[in-house]
Subunit: 599 residues, 2 copies
């Protein structure tokens, strides 16, 4: 049976020492971030995740969700009771605005909670997680009337939310949406169409479900510029806030899928359901992006979360399982064999996982800090800089973060040998659950194009240039024992700069040169971004060690893991740049029929 212990010490190291969140306490939006509250929240979030949610993770995988003939859906045994506890403890309201019932705690801490919840039980975490996306869209674009009617209950998670984008013929390309929204003359719209892959589309956790639905109004253009966003509640909401009639939206079926069995993935049928416009007609794309960007960061965290859970169990197994002898001679001569953690190839996989999980934790929390600054700073330039940085980091955290998170989960399964393939050990569930993170909320190919096609070019490249300056400054400001790490980071960012330049020189003439290299660029930037985190963490840990702290082993491990990172991750940056510079010719040259199997 797999176990999970929330990495609270590491989260506190990042929040308190690396980001120094409490130092922002006198700034608007950060008032709640007192040292006491930070540590208490992290501890309590960890406790809730490991004690309440983790024991339901395998149950959820085994049982899955059940759709009944009336279209209702029940979640796995224990999910409803755990969800009630989640709501009662107020976890859903953490980073939400106080005026709507939230606690105004910085997103940095809300993101820590998301990681712990997702590590403990990915499927469970999706129910409140998707609601956050829906809340973001309503906060940004909803009228006061809509906000007041829906948000307090959504923020309290008495009602959960969903995001309805995909249709059978329409995934990435939202211009293909067919769902119709007919104005009813009373300010409402009749929504008709079929949405698929709707996570948490129907379930038994909350009294009401608030669907945010993309649809087209009559005469709207047949492109993504023609889509509008609607609120479509499962139960209509009376003016006094009580629930009214059942709306004409039904779960038609639930999908059988590779993983995340505890979350109901629904086909949703809208049959003239009553909906309310969010924002303006034909401005749905912008609202969708607000919802999506919040969700994408969350998905990046999910990728890390599964890797972390898998890593912890692989460490435990590698310390217990005895097989063979250390290459340097028996480590434990009285036993018949040494624990497999003595084998360099097992260590390699564990170190690789450690370098990724701790580096990615620092990266997503740094991104979360940008969310808080972008929301709250009273300095417009600072808000812009935070927003630009966040725009760059979002596809990296989602795309690179989940590619690597999946790879780490697979490696951790590998540590178990044959037992990793057997369901009861739980490792194969981590792999199956992690796999979705590379796919949903925009496949990682879409993330790569978002980074290379949109974010690099925005504002004439100002965002990426600012990112490069930040790395250059960090490298320039490194001396002494850590100089080789800085040199490695300098080399990695040098590869990224060269690749950026190559795109500038070659993508104009042929945009396929960009498309064929985007995936590789995303991965170079992943290495550089984690490298920045590791250099900063190594510096901080070195400074702490100089003071002779009680937990010197923790800081020493940071320095060693940083060294591993720079030795073993950075070489890939050069290889990736070479692949980019090979261009798109060989990628695109074949006639489409040449891919068919010849008999």
């Amino acid at each position: 049976m797999p176990t999970y212990t929330a990495p609270t010490r590491d989260a506190k190291f990042i929040v308190n020492e690396l980001l120094d969140l409490a130092s922002y306490g006198n700034r608007p939006g950060f008032e709640a971030a007192t040292p006491d509250l930070i540590d208490t929240l992290i501890d309590e979030a960890g406790k809730f995740a490991s004690e309440v949610l983790q024991p339901l993770n395998q149950v959820g995988d085994r049982e899955g969700c059940t759709r009944h003939p009336d279209g209702s859906v029940t979640t796995p045994t224990g999910f409803k009771a755990a969800f009630d506890q989640y709501v009662a403890a107020g976890w859903s309201t953490l980073s939400q605005p106080a005026e709507l019932g939230g606690q105004d705690v910085p997103h940095v801490l809300g993101f820590v909670l998301e990681e712990f919840v997702s590590s403990a039980n990915h499927s469970f975490g999706m129910y409140p997680g998707l609601t956050n996306g829906a809340v973001s869209a309503l906060l940004a674009f909803g009228s006061d009337e809509l906000k007041n009617r829906y948000l307090p209950n959504m923020i309290a998670n008495r009602w959960l939310g969903t995001m309805n984008l995909t249709e059978p013929q329409c995934g990435t390309d939202l211009g293909l949406i067919r769902t119709k929204a007919e104005p009813q003359g009373d300010g409402t719209y009749a929504i008709t169409g079929t949405k698929i892959f709707i996570s948490a589309g129907e379930h038994d956790l909350s009294e009401n479900i608030i669907h945010l639905v993309l649809a087209k109004t009559p005469g709207a253009p047949d492109s993504s510029k023609g889509i509008s966003l609607f609120v479509v509640p499962k139960f209509l909401v009376n003016d006094d806030g009580t629930l009214g009639a059942r709306n004409a939206v039904q779960c038609g079926s639930i999908e059988h899928k590779m993983g995340i069995h505890g979350n109901a993935t629904c086909v949703m049928n809208y049959d003239g359901a009553t909906g309310w416009l969010v924002g303006e007609e034909m401005k749905g794309l912008a609202a969708m992006f607000v919802m999506m960007n919040a969700a994408r960061l969350g998905v990046g965290i999910q990728g890390l979360a599964q890797a972390e859970a898998a890593y912890q169990n692989a460490v435990a197994y590698a310390r217990e399982r005895r097989q063979g002898r250390a290459l340097t001679g028996p480590r434990d001569p009285e036993a018949k064999a040494d624990a497999i953690i003595v084998h360099p190839d097992v260590r390699r996989m564990l170190m690789d996982a450690k370098a990724y999980t701790e580096g990615m934790r620092a990266l997503y929390l740094w991104a979360a800090l940008q969310v808080d600054i972008a929301h709250n700073s009273d300095d417009a330039d600072e808000r812009t800089a935070a927003d630009d940085l966040l725009g760059l980091l979002t596809p990296v955290i989602k795309g690179y973060g989940t590619d690597k998170g999946f790879a780490v989960a697979v490696d951790m399964q590998q540590v178990f040998g044959g037992h990793g393939y057997i369901a009861e050990w739980g490792m194969e569930q981590f792999v199956r659950d992690a796999r979705i993170t590379q796919i949903y909320e925009g496949t990682n190919g879409i993330q790569a194009m978002d980074l290379c096609g949109r974010k690099l070019a925005s504002k004439g490249g100002a965002a990426i240039q600012a990112f490069f300056r930040m790395i250059d400054d960090e490298v320039a400001g490194t001396e002494g024992d850590l100089a080789p790490m800085a040199e490695a980071l300098g080399k990695a960012v040098g590869e990224q700069k060269a690749a950026t330049m190559w795109f500038m020189q070659n993508a104009m003439a042929n945009p396929e040169n960009l498309g064929a290299g985007a995936h590789h660029y995303l991965h170079i930037m992943g290495v550089v971004s984690l490298g920045l985190m590791w250099l900063r963490m190594a510096k901080l840990a070195t400074a702490r060690l100089a003071a002779g702290p009680d937990d010197a082993a923790f800081y020493q491990a940071k320095v060693t893991t940083a060294r591993y990172f720079f030795e073993r991750y950075v070489p890939d940056a050069g290889a990736l740049r070479q692949k980019i510079e090979a261009g798109s010719d060989a990628v695109m040259a074949l006639d489409e029929d040449a891919f068919l199997t010849a008999a």
Copy 2:
């Protein structure tokens, strides 16, 4: 619903044009390899796989195997009937010796069959596949009495075979085996113990099941030098060949696992079962290696096979699914969107898969040719050279081949976006089934150590030096348009030579330097080995094109795919060498407790 078309054209290109198998026809062991027979066998094998076995692949996954209270096991619906057809068609006897009922067809063609069967239905293919391993061990080490009693029926697949190595406490480290073999004074032994992860340990396909079991005789040393190999039939075999009493071996349970649900993975309980020694006491390890080496090549083929099946379905989907527009402008302006095969990132994944599957097919068939030469040549030096080369290639085909095969299957699932995660499309089954190939018959970490710790050093490095000379000769003999490919291969082998040298200089002082780099070395050698195949195929295709053949598109695609391979695979070799040369310090430095999650 996924489909499968056997790549018969590509197999014939490799067998007839690249390897020119018919040219060996006047040599012992190759007599059957006439041009007609080769083409007919390849066509018929493809037909059988796609028509009979593929339709059962999803059924097998969905139903799995069922163990009944009496310990019997039934395979999924349709498996028994298909197996009867397989036996009736004589597929099992293809590459087996004529004197025992086989057809003496070269292994090259037997391996083609293995690929097609495994692509169509991995779980099904394991039943006859494992029998091949058991047959190899009996052929090499069994007494004439044992051979005559078991092999004709095993070769005809009237009886299937198994390999019983693993025990709960004993995986890689065979010295930990506890199963006991007590001599009974009549030439037989009483076998007692528990074996786990026994593929096809019990089923309803064949009249009898012949278990090959590793066990320890009384007083044998507590190491791998103390193990012996036994034949333990499910039903004892009377002197007249009829089946006698049920032996004391039972399937205690079957495992619930990530994939290959159609194959029964059994816990086997031996309770004083009657067994017969194969070869000599305490020489079981050598017999095990014969069985294992045959199985390892088969597993490498399975990794390719799942990638191939996934690739074919991804191609079909990418040509059908319409989403977005080509970066260079609409390709299909009348439709609302272009097929996604126009997108460079989708192409990148398809080209990557094509370069791997076709390259690996050439590599395993070249290895199969070495099997035939090593078995049959009347020139002792030639036999030795073939055997040395095969020794090097086996861990590469198993380890690199399945790592990359799994990665390709994952990429092909990615092409499907969200649909790839849904069971009915079949893509996630390819991923789950492919995953086992990295684990069983020695994890890929073990393959890497086999290559670096044993094969590189054997005969003072003669085998790897011969391999390098072969590559150097191929590079030196390349001119004209293909010179850049040769240059790239030269660069890749240069990295491998440097890494080899680094091991020689650094592994003696600290063997962990070898252990920490073995995985990366395996992957460099994978790139170099595929590179050799691609350079040879590009040369051959270029020569064919000069003659203006009818199917010029096939040969042109070879040249383009070769170019893709050299541009996109070779850069990794340099990065891998850098990782090796980083050594083991940072990998091994942490105290074991530093891996624990700190609270």
